[in-house]
Subunit: 226 residues, 2 copies
């Protein structure tokens, strides 16, 4: 079965306190985005990688690939104004509708190969799969009156890759964009599909701030030393 | 106004893949629990520190204090079977009912002095204060049918210190223990009080696994180098 992964790197990195979008920052010497793509290739060297990048960053990325001699084959697609639009643009490259399609954040370089495998296997069986983590801190939910305790044992943090049968995600992205949609699972769910969660991997953090870069760097070193 | 802080270090560290309870592990050379207590003393050297420890760890702790020449004045109280019971035991040391009482996890050594100050000031004004963080990942909530999207913009991760007017927390802890209670704010809320949230500090992570030790160590080094 054909496998695709759409790597979404559309963000302009406004939260990074840095002019360079976060996906291009060096994580222990190698750009985040390159680190993100490698585990998918290592999982299956036939996987088709579709990288969604803002148009204005394409030249920067291509130069970076030359500079780092990054040979991993991938298609580049222009991003849109929202994440929804970016994924939708990436989906135009899906030519095999009997395939499986992963969507993964460009700023999650520490995703494990075994998580990628679990998600693909579950999606093939169940239609879709998204990785979920337990929450170890108390939660509160905002209410019109203020806020109140939310039972943390019932809530999961959702990571990527989120993987779907192609027909499911292609159909879902024909819907109109809604503000409440924050990930691909919610787009697919919005169409009436059930979402299947699998255990995530702890190191698979999303790098949204420089603080996260410090954490990712330490985790990477630790993973190597174990 | 008298200030107390109850440091809860009751956990036996079953999640640490280590025989040593997590609060005693060395974080960049110094036991976690010592690092946790220092910012409170630095904030106000008159603060009364009440350390709640499992009875079987008291000797270990006292020896550690000698070994590290740890001079910070504190009372030691025996913990109970649950966190609720441990805090309740700590509260028996509150003699000034016109005071402010902070409750802080023994395994949050990276709490900032400014967060401690904000929480005390807000609690004095509003009756209580708990630190809350935004969530940058998607959330799902378990339902009888499976799971569904939960709007992350309405949910906050809750940290400690949680600070209360003494009368409020003393009264709250006269209630019976309930399973749904995961922190002190929920005990106080359960009595009908509104909870006031203030912005938390990102580094103020809860160390529950060895993975968290790696992160805490990196954050600590980064805080020093900034």
């Amino acid at each position: 079965m054909t496998k695709y992964v759409i790597i979404v790197a559309g963000g302009a990195g406004k939260r990074m306190q840095s002019d360079l979008p976060k996906q291009f920052l060096l994580l222990n010497g190698i750009p985040v985005l390159m680190r993100t793509m490698v585990p998918f290739f290592n999982f299956d060297n036939q996987i088709q990688i579709i990288l969604v990048l803002p148009e204005e960053h394409m030249d920067y990325w291509k130069n970076l690939c030359v500079e780092f001699n990054f040979q991993l084959d991938h298609k580049i697609v222009a991003g849109g104004e929202t994440r929804f639009r970016s994924v939708k643009n990436g989906l135009t490259e899906i030519t095999d509708t009997g395939s499986l399609v992963a969507v993964h954040d460009g700023v999650r370089p520490l995703v494990s190969q075994s998580l990628i495998q679990t998600c693909f296997e579950t999606a093939e069986l169940m239609g879709n799969a998204v990785p979920a983590m337990e929450i170890s801190e108390s939660l509160r939910i905002l209410t019109p009156e203020g806020n109140q305790l939310l039972n943390r044992s019932e809530v999961k943090l959702i990571q990527t890759p989120q993987i779907f049968r192609a027909e499911q995600i292609l159909k879902a992205y024909r819907q109109d964009y809604k503000e409440t949609i924050t990930d691909d699972a919610s787009v697919v769910e919005n169409m009436g599909e059930k979402i299947h969660i699998v255990p995530g991997n702890r190191e698979n953090i999303k790098i949204t701030t420089l603080h996260d870069m410090v954490i990712a760097s330490a985790l990477l070193q630790n993973m190597r030393s174990v």
